[in-house]
């Protein structure tokens, strides 16, 4: 008998081996502990009045009904949509333009790529503090605006409800541009150079060649960036925490900030979980729509 050969060749009765599962064990155990189980627990908690001190009591849909009536929740949700509406188009377009710019063969272009990427790796706390300093009433931004307009400008960027959210959106964009530029850059470098040469013969050059070739070929990347940046915009928290604490008058407070407030400041963990589930549903819908439109595995390759 030649059991080894036979077992290897026989597709139907393949020899069972524990080896692959043992390799996967630590990863799956930790993912269960830190991702799968917490999701179900969060869904369960969202139907309870859990306040961290007592034990959770089932209250049905009450949290969700309260959420529906909660003015602050709607305010934070509409704020989050403002983040989404203003940050996402900027984060789709600016990084693409930048990627095209740094995809040229120029001297020290790697240096520029590195500079543009640098805000991505700086801690969000440091970035928030740096910008808070720039936005200060007698800070450098107002000084700059005063200089170019010959007026004495003292805009309280972060303490005026009309400007604060946009001041923070600018920082969200500043932190994201380099990240998406790198995603686009990977896509651009995969476009064969002879396509552009062929286009040049057909009279397509300069920016026209990007409209003719780059944009259509980059479409999967553009969708990918739109999705990632949308999900990112749904989760803005740290910038707000550092720069404005959600103020003035809740004008910069996001859904995630409200979740943090409810869950960890007033310890309404059941209610906070309901906010989390709601957020998860929105992100889930965005992700599912993407899976329908593009095959992410194909895009990454």
């Amino acid at each position: 008998m030649q059991p080894n050969v036979k077992l290897k060749r026989n597709k139907l009765g393949k020899k069972f081996s524990w080896t692959p599962y043992l390799f996967l064990l630590p990863a799956i155990a930790f993912l269960c502990l830190t991702s799968f189980l917490p999701v179900f627990q969060a869904i369960y908690l969202s139907f309870t009045d859990y306040d961290f001190v007592g034990s959770p009591t089932f209250i049905g849909l009450k949290n969700y009904l309260n959420l529906w009536k909660d003015q602050t929740f709607w305010k934070t949700l509409s704020n989050t949509l403002i983040y989404l509406i203003f940050a996402v188009p900027s984060l789709v377009i600016l990084p693409l333009a930048l990627a095209i710019l740094v995809n040229q063969k120029l001297r020290s272009i790697k240096f520029f790529r590195a500079i543009y990427y640098f805000p991505v790796i700086v801690s969000v706390v440091v970035a928030g503090i740096a910008w808070k300093w720039v936005y200060a009433q007698n800070g450098i931004l107002n000084y700059f605006l005063s200089t170019i307009s010959f007026q004495n400008i003292k805009i309280p960027w972060l303490t005026d409800p009309k400007t604060a959210i946009f001041a923070i959106i600018a920082v969200v964009i500043w932190r994201g541009v380099g990240y998406y530029m790198v995603i686009y850059l990977a896509g651009l470098q995969a476009i064969p150079a002879d396509l552009y040469e062929a286009a040049a013969i057909d009279g397509s050059d300069g920016w026209q060649k990007h409209l003719d070739i780059t944009i259509p070929l980059m479409k999967p990347y553009i969708i990918l960036v739109a999705v990632i940046s949308s999900i990112g915009a749904m989760k803005v928290f740290e910038e707000v925490y550092i720069m404005s604490q959600g103020g003035p008058a809740n004008s910069t407070k996001t859904v995630v900030y409200y979740l943090y407030d409810k869950g960890f400041t007033s310890l309404e963990m059941g209610y906070a979980s309901a906010i989390g589930v709601f957020l998860f549903l929105i992100i889930f819908i965005i992700s599912i729509l993407t899976f329908k439109f593009i095959n992410p595995a194909k895009t990454i390759n």
Partner: protein, 282 residues
């Protein structure tokens, strides 16, 4: 026709408009950080709120750094950040590469469903799992511990995905040769896969390190003792504790930026794609 000669210094002159744009954007990008660093070097006698801001410190001094280091335990925060980030990197490299190996190279029942379940976890926002994770951490007595800071991050679906891609591109012959020599699966993982996937492992290490170094939300909820603060948590508390002494806050921020800056300078080619890295794939 364009030739390689264009790459010489004359191309700076030919491409002046491009360079003006590149430099303008670079200035805009880096300015807030430079401004912060400049503030960190300004002496207490210099008015940092003067009506005409001075980019360079009048009398550069290290006083702010010394003061922040001594007064607010920045030595400790720096160590905490370094320790937590390093352990997380090591655990990620270990567990992600172990998991990626069978997903990339072995044939077994349930492989694809398991892979997609892992990738699917990237859709779960941390904000929804954060509350149950906090409850779990408290139950396991992990609040205000290093283990508590680390445990939600010891595995990343992104890491598994990245390493699976890298392992898949290792030539079949290398694996077969090792099997001939009597290597077990574990031996192939260690002797063949890990050395071949070194660039991807470095990429994962850099991403994990940078993410942990800058993480704020989880340390904010899981740690409330100053001895366990990581740098972002320490800087944020500094911003309130010193009633906004901007020189000290700026000095603390500059200290926290330095290590990621060093990592970035040496390892940026592993996170920013270059023509060469694309060429290898094709």
């Amino acid at each position: 026709m364009k030739t390689k000669k264009l790459k010489s210094s004359s191309n700076i002159l030919n491409n002046t408009p491009q360079f003006i744009v590149l430099i303008a954007i670079a200035t805009l990008t880096i300015f807030p950080l430079l401004w912060l660093i400049s503030t960190a070097f300004k002496s207490p006698t210099e008015n940092i709120f003067q009506s005409i801001p001075q980019l360079l410190p009048a009398q550069p001094t290290l006083d702010n750094f010394i003061k922040v280091w001594k007064n607010s335990r920045f030595d400790l925060y720096l160590w905490n950040s370094f320790f937590v980030s390093s352990i997380t990197v090591i655990l990620n490299l270990l567990f992600c590469s172990l998991a990626a190996f069978p997903l990339a190279r072995l044939d077994f029942k349930g492989r694809d469903p398991i892979f997609w379940a892992i990738v699917g976890t990237t859709m779960i926002p941390f904000q929804i799992t954060m509350i149950p994770l906090y409850i779990l951490a408290v139950q396991l007595n992990l609040k205000n511990t290093y283990a508590g800071l680390i445990f939600p991050y010891v595995i990343s679906a992104f890491g598994i995905f990245l390493l699976r891609q890298a392992f898949q591109s290792v030539p079949k012959e290398m694996e077969e040769a090792a099997r001939m020599d009597g290597c077990s699966s574990l031996g192939i993982w260690w002797h063949v896969m890990l050395p071949a996937a070194r660039p991807a492992l470095t990429t994962l290490a850099v991403f994990t390190f940078v993410a942990m170094w800058g993480d704020f939300l989880w340390p904010l909820v899981i740690v409330d003792k100053a001895e366990l603060y990581t740098l972002p948590r320490g800087i944020a508390s500094l911003a309130s504790a010193f009633s906004e002494d901007w020189r000290l806050i700026a000095a603390g921020s500059a200290i926290s930026m330095l290590p990621v800056f060093i990592v970035f300078v040496f390892l940026q080619r592993y996170i920013i794609p270059t023509e060469a890295s694309i060429g290898v794939k094709g």
